[in-house]
């Protein structure tokens, strides 16, 4: 059984989840409108993982994300305005418009540049964790990856060393059952793709309901405590589901309707946690709606701001190829 967090924390987690949900929804519509460039891999449905894992991190702890980074980045503290500006390729984007949807990040809040190479972030996160250890800091790194990424060679090489070196890093496998169009059942002989393959690296692991923010958060707390205490890495596999397609143009024709319905209708992490906090009496329906409206406003403002924010200068295209520190 999970112990219920303070009212403030529970509400805080809910609000961040809600913010991510609304952010992703607004992005979705902006794409439909045809006014947003590029492509996008959305995290709708996976909010509990991002928020549960990152809510208790310090600003100077680090987080490493993937091609599906928006939830992680917002939970780690990048503002929706900086995210939205990046999506529009604007100068005030968190990467000056040069990164884009798959590379959002912000050093000042410990969000490492998101990585669009599946499995590419894994050894990099280990490197950051090694640095913290060499610097005698007690910081930790949380590194997200997908079920599909667990089949990459980088996964094996990284887990082996992270286990050997007892690095302060928490590897979070967001198992959403699919790698792009491919069901994970076709590419790995185990259901617990990461947790089931953790023991050989001497790394403790947990399987967690990834749509229950409290369950994720408790697992996170255990893993963070271990890492800070110098006891090494943890692999956490969160079972979750993306509500939408893999990327912008994906109509999800490869997944059974009843499966999607089940996850979207019954297992929605945002809706379900909303019920919980209302049932617990943490906040009233009206007050919650007010909070939600504020968040929606923040996102609408971000969209409006981003739309008319200045474009990057041509010169900036040639800057920071090498660090200009």
């Amino acid at each position: 059984m999970v112990t219920f967090p303070s009212n403030e924390k529970a509400l805080g987690m809910y609000k961040t989840m809600y913010k991510i949900r609304k952010y992703e929804e607004s992005i979705y519509y902006l794409f439909l409108e045809g006014i947003m460039p590029g492509t996008i891999h959305q995290s709708t449905g996976e909010e509990a993982s991002a928020v549960g894992m990152l809510y208790d991190l310090r600003k100077d702890d680090w987080m490493a994300s993937t091609h599906r980074p928006a939830g992680h980045d917002i939970a780690k503290g990048i503002t929706v305005r900086a995210m939205m500006c990046e999506m529009f390729g604007k100068a005030e984007g968190c990467c000056g418009g040069k990164g884009g949807a798959m590379h959002t990040g912000d050093a000042s809040v410990g969000a490492m540049t998101a990585n669009a190479i599946v499995g590419g972030n894994l050894p990099i996160a280990a490197g950051a964790a090694l640095a913290f250890k060499m610097q005698k800091k007690d910081n930790v790194v949380v590194c997200f990856f997908g079920d599909g990424a667990s089949n990459e060679g980088s996964y094996h090489e990284t887990m082996n060393a992270a286990g050997l070196w007892k690095l302060p890093v928490i590897y979070v496998c967001e198992n959403n059952l699919y790698s792009a169009n491919t069901s994970i059942s076709l590419t790995c002989c185990q259901e617990d793709v990461a947790a089931g393959r953790a023991e050989i690296y001497g790394i403790p692991s947990e399987v967690v309901d990834g749509n229950d923010v409290l369950a994720v958060n408790e697992a996170a707390a255990r893993a963070i405590a271990r890492a800070r205490a110098g006891e090494g890495p943890t692999i956490i596999e969160v079972k979750t589901y993306r509500h939408g397609g893999h990327s912008r143009n994906d109509a999800c024709g490869y997944r059974p309707k009843d499966e999607a319905d089940y996850w979207i209708d019954q297992r929605d992490p945002v809706k379900n946690f909303r019920k919980v906090i209302l049932e617990k009496g943490i906040i009233s329906e009206e007050e919650l709606q007010k909070e939600e409206a504020e968040i929606e406003q923040e996102i609408d403002d971000a969209v409006e701001y981003a739309k008319s924010a200045p474009l990057p200068t041509y010169d900036s295209a040639l800057e920071n190829v090498f660090w200009e520190g």
Partner: protein, 357 residues
């Protein structure tokens, strides 16, 4: 004759070769998942219907937790996200008599299989002194398309430098079909660069260009090492590949109005490279301009310019001009991406300057 997109021309080439030769098979991530994409750009979608696909068979059999075991009637193979494996399986199966045609989704992931490509596929025939050979095709979508630095690269130049690899970059439906067939029949590893904005498949891309074109009905191949003269002219020779020669054509039209006549050459294959056609053209024009989307420093244009400076410098009436992406990763922001990729305007400007020298 039929009008086809490049995506369909490729599919048609692969289909016909699979019918012709039972050793040809397709392999890749997201390969022919019913209801899915068919690679990232639809080329292999549906092939499993005719040729069998491990994913289809697994699904039909209600197979859940493991892959399908029988590969004898199964010629479209979906792999885990494992690029080293993907390329290594191509190398090994090719050594053992098969002709794999692999789909990499995005050329940028070539770096994840680079050892298998450069140290294995390319060197195996040589190290064994011909005892083994490696007839495999690796399909790599390339080019900038608003996706950011790790999904935007033009990678031809890296591979031009690898002895033992052939490198082609078809950019019309006709070439796509004919060169893909040629690649599948080649007895060596062939890397095929396909431009994302030229596929013309169902997927819509900002800035995409219709490369629909006529494709003969019967069997035909387009040999490697023979450049295509896309436009004849007499003042400036422009050598450009993939998206860039389309832009050069538009620039040439503008310049035509000003009385400047451009000859536009699409090399089509970079290894082997048809230097002859370029030299013949320079003999006429005295002026060489090279345009590619790949970066400037060490790009394939450097090799071509150097070849001319070594072997035919006397033909040049003016300095060589090279237009390429500058030496920066490709920025996401569309305005910046447009800025770094050679545009019609810049091609026209540079060609104009060169013509007037």
């Amino acid at each position: 004759m039929a009008m086809m997109s490049i995506a369909n021309a490729l599919k048609s080439a692969i289909t016909e070769e699979m019918r012709r030769d039972p050793t040809v098979f397709c392999i890749g991530e997201d390969e022919d998942i019913p209801g899915g994409m068919g690679g990232a750009f639809t080329v292999t979608k549906g092939l499993g219907e005719e040729f069998g696909a491990n994913v289809r068979i697994a699904k039909e059999k209600g197979f859940e937790l493991k892959g399908v075991k029988d590969f004898s009637n199964n010629r479209v193979i979906n792999t885990p996200i494992s690029e080293i494996l993907l390329c290594g399986v191509c190398v090994g199966s090719a050594m053992a008599g098969m002709r794999p045609v692999a789909d990499l989704q995005y050329g940028d992931f070539l770096f994840c299989m680079m050892d298998q490509l450069v140290n294995q596929a390319a060197k195996m025939c040589y190290m064994s002194n011909g005892g083994f050979h490696v007839p495999m095709v690796m399909r790599a979508p390339c080019g900038a398309s608003n996706r950011g630095a790790q999904h935007a690269q033009s990678l031809e130049s890296y591979f031009v430098h690898v002895p033992g690899l052939k490198v082609i970059c078809p950019s019309t439906a006709y070439d796509a079909k004919g060169m893909m067939k040629q690649a599948i029949r080649d007895n060596n590893p062939v890397l095929v660069f396909e431009h994302k904005l030229l596929y013309g498949g169902k997927r819509k891309e900002a800035g995409q260009l219709s490369a629909m074109g006529e494709v003969p009905d019967g069997d035909y191949t387009v040999p490697f090492g023979k450049a295509a003269i896309r436009r004849e002219g007499k003042d400036v020779t422009i050598v450009a590949n993939l998206l860039m020669w389309y832009r050069a054509m538009q620039a040439a039209e503008e310049l035509e109005k000003e009385g400047i006549s451009c000859e536009i050459i699409d090399p089509r294959s970079l290894v082997p490279f048809d230097y002859e056609t370029v030299l013949t053209s320079i003999e006429k024009t005295g002026k060489l301009m090279i345009v590619h989307e790949d970066h400037y420093n060490g790009g394939w244009g450097a090799q071509l310019a150097s070849y001319v400076a070594e072997n035919a410098i006397h033909l040049l009436d003016a300095p060589v001009v090279r237009l390429a992406a500058p030496d920066c990763p490709i920025p996401f922001s569309p305005i910046l991406e447009d800025f770094v990729i050679p545009s019609i305007q810049r091609i026209a400007e540079e060609a104009r300057k060169l013509a007037r020298l």
